[in-house]
Subunit: 314 residues, 2 copies
Amino acid sequence: MDTISKLFNIQYPIIQAGMVWCSGWKLARAVSDAGGLGIIGAGSMNPELLKEHIQKFKNNSTRPFAVNLPLFYADIDKQVQTIIDLKVPIVFTSAGSPAKYTKLFKEHGLKVVHVVSSVKFALKSQDAGVDAIVAEGFEAGGHNGREETTTFCLIPAVAEAVSIPVIAAGGIACGKTMFAACALGAKGVQIGSRFAISEESSAHQLFKEKMTHIYEGDTELILKQLTPVRVVKNELYDELKKAELNAASQDELKAILGKGKSKRGIFEGDIEHGELEIGQVAMRIREILPAATILHNIWEEYTSMKQNLSLNFP
Amino acid sequence: MDTISKLFNIQYPIIQAGMVWCSGWKLARAVSDAGGLGIIGAGSMNPELLKEHIQKFKNNSTRPFAVNLPLFYADIDKQVQTIIDLKVPIVFTSAGSPAKYTKLFKEHGLKVVHVVSSVKFALKSQDAGVDAIVAEGFEAGGHNGREETTTFCLIPAVAEAVSIPVIAAGGIACGKTMFAACALGAKGVQIGSRFAISEESSAHQLFKEKMTHIYEGDTELILKQLTPVRVVKNELYDELKKAELNAASQDELKAILGKGKSKRGIFEGDIEHGELEIGQVAMRIREILPAATILHNIWEEYTSMKQNLSLNFP
């Protein structure tokens, strides 16, 4: 059994990313039931809602699952307690210091994974005692690192720097990208966009349909003076970009961004005025499919490449 | 024999990128003599100097080689004629329309490859009748596309869109990155940064030494309002970046950039005031090596991965 499947007690080393407004208990259950690791994204949930999603997952599946917990939220301590109280087996932390909660989670028997976008934070995560690292490249959707290091440069650098397993994220949506990520040194993959555009994703149908019509150059990492985020180009993007090019202050940018724009775009389906977070790889996604089909297609293409390597490679 | 090696009559499907101020006849000869495809970069040569480099290559090697020809130069017609007159066997065109010279070159028996950073231009190149395409990701050094599509997203998209062979570029510097590129659908690789930092590169020794001390986040794609270019962060970068953040006009940016800054940085070794073009992958390069050693290390790691796949992959 491979390292990642063993670590999480799953069948395939394929992890569905925790994503705001996409990954509730339904998507997580679909992925976990299909043999991958489903993740409930706490980033768009208050502690009560998170509790409800964890309980619903547990009432509907006996498989391992995880919660993705961005560490910068106001109610972070309540969310940490909810995760511990409800005996969630695995937690993926992100957007903060891995030193803060790793020890506490480990004392309660959880497996801990931290999401990073640099070698520097991969080493910090390893020092903090995490079980594995997700290394996420520049091409990934949503919030991202300031170094802009792509999956192709980041994964080998991180895999060569740490001794714990590395899970690759950013640009992965099919068997061949999974295979390439493993060639770069990853022991498993975390997939966001492909599962955001699945039947079980809680994103609005209009968001999902729009995402099947994304072409090259249609997303961009913007707001680098605030917190870098990869979004689809729409009316909100145009406003933000125009302000950036006119040297708008951080406060002016915050005013344009306002509150709740990712909910408006992803969950409520306001395609022009919401913040549409998705990865570059959406340019290669043309169908809304069941999560189990997505997972099995990826695994089948991946294993087929492993078995038929000599036919395709120079 | 693999597709690319057959096309160019070489031993390994490894191509050294044509790079301003790095790739004269010495580097091209070292790579071609080692069994790869060496390229003389015409981008930093007037027609007379290009003629001299082609003749010196031919006087010192009988192997196939190519000239990389950016199509936006003033003296482009003279360069085209020089390449034809001196019976260069292969030309890599870039930074312009593939429709303009492909037919002429083909009529004179040359193999033609066009460098692109998008699916759109890959298809245009195929329509123009080129023999192969180089698809170059966002992480590559020097001039780059506006879409910012990374190698991980670009290569599979291009390989799925065209029927001619695709050569991957951007982020490739070792056997595992070559292997990953082939997993994504490439039939060969074009490698810039790793050969820019070789003994035979005509870059200044101070440039090469600086490039072995590049870390994550030390390069950035800037000047997106002019022509996007990936450079190392130094004093010139600071000036340009400050101007960009203050909404400088195109003319103001051009004035700061001035003339001859890439020569000053790469060829003359002015590390702080020159334009230092290099790829993100420089963060993984720590030694100045002979080009033949670089090529053989890459091929050895690549073939070893092919043979021992089951040991390393999930």
